[in-house]
């Protein structure tokens, strides 16, 4: 756009601005009310998110030699963990031994021929015996 066009555009702008002053009071009042309504519903400023480093486990990031108490705090985490692992291992071992004992009892019963009568009615058991005889 050349200068004449720009001048013309700004003269139109001036005329439009003058015309704004003629707006009826009812309209300007309504606009003011609308503005207040909008401001009352303004989006709250989002809280600024700052990355802050924090030690998850107490004592992890501290120097052992610099802080004598760090060793204690570290142990307060490690010892319960060790106890937990030891407990779980013990339970596993105990369960295994129980299972071995049960199997041993069953085997002893089969070998000493202390079988219930219902065992001989079992087709599967008969098939097993026949196969063994062959």
């Amino acid at each position: 756009m050349n200068t004449d066009d720009l001048n013309f555009a700004y003269k139109v702008r001036h005329a439009l601005n003058e015309k704004l002053d003629d707006l009826p009071a009812s309209t300007t009042d309504r606009l003011a009310l609308a503005r207040k309504a909008a401001l009352s519903r303004k989006k709250a400023d989002a809280p600024v998110k700052v990355l802050a480093r924090q030690n998850v486990l107490a004592g992890i990031a501290t120097n052992f030699f610099a802080e004598p108490m760090a060793w204690l705090t570290r142990m307060s985490v490690v010892i319960p963990l060790l106890l937990l692992v030891a407990g779980l291992t013990g339970i596993y071992q105990f369960e295994q031994e129980q299972r071995v004992a049960e199997l041993a009892e069953l085997d002893a019963a089969v070998l000493s021929d202390e079988l219930p009568l219902s065992a001989y009615m079992d087709h599967g058991f008969n098939a097993y015996l026949t196969k063994r005889e062959q």
Partner: protein
């Protein structure tokens, strides 16, 4: 991030021009007021935390979208109304005439209280106002955003959803159309 005061000042500064923009587009003052209120609330609710410098472009985009929504709703409403009333098109024309009558009457009443010069000036302002309203919608939007709302070409393009070249073309055409129509009416600015 715009403070409450910045947002308030911005809305106060822009509200009357926004009302006129909406009124040029929809040609109903009551609807234009509703549109401006909706646009202000949307801006505050959704973009109240944006920097103050971005508010003019965002507000214009919201305003234009709200005007488009209004036209869509009107289209749907008119479709349903015309289904039940064969007389609707005639009614629309009648409404237009009523609006023009009211417009002329307001013009006359304000002018009647003024002196001769003021009457002439007021009439010229009304003519300019009417000619701006007659501009094609896109040309009017571009012209008003660039020269009335003080937005630059890039901001106007973003608010209108078109290229910067299109904005320049719309502005240039709007200026020439206005100049010619005012010249035809014997008005020289």
């Amino acid at each position: 991030m715009a403070t409450d005061k910045e947002l308030s000042d911005f809305l106060e500064n822009v509200e009357r021009r926004a009302f006129k923009q909406a009124a040029y587009a929809v040609r109903k003052e009551e609807s234009a007021l509703d549109i401006v209120q909706d646009a202000m609330i949307k801006l505050a609710e959704k973009y109240g935390d944006k920097p103050a410098a971005e508010l003019p472009m965002l507000f214009q985009r919201i305003l234009q979208n709200t005007i488009l929504d209004y036209f869509r709703r009107e289209k749907v409403r008119n479709t349903w109304v015309s289904l039940f009333s064969g007389m609707k098109p005639a009614g629309d024309e009648h409404e237009d005439f009523e609006l023009l009558d009211t417009y002329e009457a307001e013009q006359g009443s304000s002018a009647a209280e003024s002196s001769a010069d003021q009457v002439e000036r007021a009439q010229i302002l009304d003519l300019i106002d009417a000619e701006v309203q007659k501009l094609p919608a896109r040309q009017r939007e571009a012209f008003l955003m660039r020269y009335w709302q003080d937005m630059d070409v890039a901001e106007t393009a973003e608010a209108m959803g078109c290229s910067e070249g299109s904005v320049k073309t719309h502005c240039s055409r709007a200026t020439h159309t206005l100049a010619e129509s005012l010249k035809a009416k014997g008005i020289k600015l």
